[in-house]
């Protein structure tokens, strides 16, 4: 066996992952004066070369479909690089009867290069939901603990929005919101009639110059990555200032394999596979921040077995990998004849919705717990691969009839994506697959996933709401769902919303939780987890803003502890 190459020096902190959670930790810790080494499993990203901003489909030989048409499965060839449901050489498995899709990014900045930029605060009630309805668990911290960090994150990264005073969707520090698109005006009018709250969206996109970054140029392509960094990504907004301190060492192509625990029971190093040379290396640090994405972090903790922690680091409760949730997702769309009369116009706007529907039925009894929000889409988008699949399927035919029909319906479709809260259940978790390793020799994950009645009823409610809005707009609701089968009411498979969280959740009681309220493992004081894993609940909010707020808070705590000599 080749000898392990060890780092020449001991860093203060090793951060594993460079996305929302890792990038934030890297920034706060290096600016706080600590020497940080960051491991990223993928390559460096070069926005001006890697992002396909302002390109037309016909400028790519595959028009956006990708080699063999396969990029369609990963959104499109235009997506900012290196996010996929399947990564060659790095498999995962699903237990019989389970269907879980695991989206991973292997690149500097992780999934923040192409995420939806939806930046919603959790509400005060979201931290105490067990107290409210007896399900799941309360958080060990409250909204008041996190609110100052929401303020800081929003102020730094730039989030547009408006003050609305909706209790399920707390207001934040906002840049001005963009005006609604035509379709969004019609949706809002219909929602007003139905007493459904519809307000300006909250997205991490700059409607004004902010902290040295240019304002949005309204090409509508945030998912491709933004060369001017007018939207938020860790690679362009968190890492540059961290690098500028001279205290951050970024190692790319480094797949973390194990956190090494010393004789004193504290973490002392991280072993990783250097992908380029396929050799194991080791970097020494006084503290470790794990932010590899919720399931990848759980995998690393479970793989970090030692005599002191035979079941994995931080796993004395056996709860690492448990309490996995994804957002409940169900989509629907319709055709709105009123939009046929709109003259052709530029509808691009920012890369995402300008309006959305926050959870609005919090003040009444529903036949499911918790709630969901609705994301809006549709209108005169840039044509792309797959745009007319539904038309072709529904209306069939060929020739001038098909061509004229496409011309007429283009721009008249509007759609909705419901995103709701899942209650953790016993049948949903990830664990190490006892039989298999990836190409780096690291044991892989096996997923167990099951939606319960709670989520199915929520999906049913989503479908009914979508239909009522479309019909109020005078349109025809086109989505057909089944009440049984694998995906009742159009509920998407687990993992598909890419909000997987909860696999190393925080809690006041070390007997039932992996982390304390500062994202520090109860078992090992110098190990922190700052991605989606600490989340006790995943309310109907996209988790990224909260991940960054918690990571900033944990990093401040770590800095403080380091100063006191406690780490």
């Amino acid at each position: 066996m080749a000898q392990i190459t060890r780092s020449p020096k001991t860093y203060d902190v090793c951060v594993i992952g460079s996305g929302a959670g890792g990038g934030m930790a890297g920034k706060v810790l290096s600016e706080g004066g600590l020497n940080v080494v960051m491991l990223e499993a993928g390559p460096q990203v070069y926005p001006e070369k890697d992002y396909k901003m302002l390109m037309w489909p016909y400028e790519l030989p595959h028009r956006g479909a990708g080699v063999g048409g396969r990029a369609s499965e990963n959104f499109s060839e235009f997506l900012a690089p290196n996010g996929a449901w399947e990564i060659e050489g790095e498999p995962y498995t699903s237990a019989p009867g389970s269907d879980f899709q695991w989206f991973r990014s292997r690149i500097v900045g992780g999934r923040t290069n192409h995420w939806g930029r939806i930046a919603l605060r959790f509400a005060p009630v979201d931290f105490k939901s067990n107290t409210r309805d007896g399900l799941g668990d309360d958080w060990p911290i409250s909204y008041e603990d996190v609110a100052p960090y929401y303020d800081k994150v929003e102020s730094y990264i730039g989030v547009f929005g408006s003050k609305e005073n909706v209790s399920s969707a707390p207001d934040g520090v906002f840049l001005p919101p963009p005006k609604p698109r035509c379709a969004e005006i019609l949706i809002k009018r219909a929602c007003d009639k139905l007493n459904i709250t519809c307000i300006p969206a909250r997205l991490a996109i700059l409607t004004k110059a902010h902290n040295g970054r240019l304002p949005c140029h309204y090409c509508g392509q945030c998912g491709r990555g933004c060369i001017t960094a007018s939207n938020f990504s860790s690679s362009q907004v968190l890492l540059p200032p961290a690098m500028a301190t001279g205290k951050l060492t970024l190692i790319t192509g480094a797949m973390a394999r194990e956190i090494v625990v010393g004789r004193d029971g504290k973490a002392e190093a991280v072993s990783y596979i250097d992908k380029a040379t396929k050799t194991e290396k080791r970097v020494y640090a006084k503290a470790v921040v794990v932010a590899a994405s919720a399931c990848e972090s759980a995998r690393l903790l479970l793989n970090s077995k030692s005599p002191s922690f035979p079941d994995g680091l931080g796993n004395s409760t056996g709860n690492v990998g448990k309490y996995l949730t994804d957002s409940v997702g169900s989509d629907g769309w319709g055709e709105i004849p009123a939009l046929e009369k709109m003259p052709p116009h530029n509808h691009d706007g920012v890369g995402g919705m300008h309006y959305y529907v926050p959870w609005w039925k919090f003040d009444r009894k529903n036949d499911f717990p918790r709630g969901y929000h609705i994301e809006l889409w549709g209108g005169r988008d840039m044509p792309g691969v797959g745009m007319f699949n539904e038309l072709c399927h529904d209306e069939e035919g060929y020739g001038l009839q098909l061509k004229r029909r496409a011309r007429r319906v283009y721009g008249t479709t509007v759609g909705f994506s419901g995103r709701g809260e899942m209650i953790p259940n016993r049948d949903t978790y990830c664990e190490l697959d006892p039989d298999r390793v990836d190409q780096w020799g690291i044991p892989i994950l096996r997923f167990h996933f099951k939606w319960s009645e709670y989520e199915l009823r929520q999906a049913k409610d989503m479908q009914e709401t979508f239909k009522s809005i479309i019909e109020m707009m005078g349109g025809a609701y086109k989505t057909r769902t089944q009440i049984d089968g694998p995906y009742p009411f159009g509920i998407l498979p687990g993992g598909k919303i890419i909000h997987e969280v909860g696999t190393a959740r925080m809690g006041a009681d070390p007997k039932t939780s992996v982390l304390n309220g500062y994202c520090q493992t109860h078992d090992v004081k110098n190990v922190f987890v700052t991605d989606g894993a600490p989340l006790v609940t995943n309310p109907d909010k996209n988790p990224t803003l909260t991940i960054m707020a918690l990571s900033w808070r944990a990093s401040d705590y770590l800095l403080d502890e380091a100063k006191k000599g406690n780490i």
């Binding site: 090409c219 007319f388 699949n389």
Partner: protein, 198 residues
């Protein structure tokens, strides 16, 4: 979009300055990025237009594919058709890289010829125009397969080809202009919706 009147050298110079200028955000001027894209477009447009050599389909199959693409989205008074838009090349490229498409489309074209031989005595391209129209009309609708299960596979084949022809057409400049999509440009302000029709 207007021509920006910038030379390739200007663009490269600006790009280099942007990268070397030590901007922490690696911002390059939008105008330069836009101009670079326009150049790619122009170079493609002026490339020698030789006859396309199919990557996957045989020459005969490619003729059939082209004829079907033309039937699915033909030219009309407003715009060119799927063939003008390069849909056959696009479909051939994707098929050459994907075994499932090879089976569905390559096999589908073979099925079509077999059907035509059985019913008209000749392969599709050698059948009479009204016979070709007849078989396309048949396989263009699922309901026809209910009455006539013999054509079920043909209907399935045509559905895949129709999707891919639409993809090829509506991702081309011709198809995008046909829909009157306006955008993919940089703007300094977002004006909102230009007055809704009441």
């Amino acid at each position: 979009m207007s021509t920006l009147g910038i030379s390739r050298r200007d663009v490269l110079k600006t790009l280099a300055a942007g990268a070397a200028g030590g901007s922490v955000l690696q911002v390059i001027p939008l105008q330069a990025a836009e101009a670079a894209h326009q150049m790619v477009r122009k170079e493609k447009a002026t490339a020698a237009a030789g006859k396309y050599v199919p990557k996957y389909f045989t020459v005969k199959q490619y003729e059939t594919l082209t004829s079907l693409c033309d039937a699915i989205i033909p030219r009309d008074e407003k715009s060119g058709g799927a063939v003008d838009a390069g849909a056959p090349e696009f479909i051939d490229l994707l098929t050459s890289e994907n075994a499932e498409f090879q089976n569905r489309l390559g096999g589908g074209l073979m099925w079509l010829d077999s059907y035509c031989i059985d019913h008209y005595g000749k392969v599709y391209m050698e059948s009479l125009p009204e016979q070709r129209k007849e078989v396309v009309e048949l396989i263009a609708y699922r309901k026809n397969a209910k009455a006539n299960p013999e054509i079920q596979q043909g209907v399935a084949f045509f559905a895949v080809l129709r999707n891919m022809t639409c993809d090829g057409f509506y991702t081309s400049k011709i198809g995008i202009d046909d829909l009157q999509y306006i955008g993919n440009v940089t703007r300094s302000e977002w004006p909102g919706c230009p007055a809704l029709p009441e």
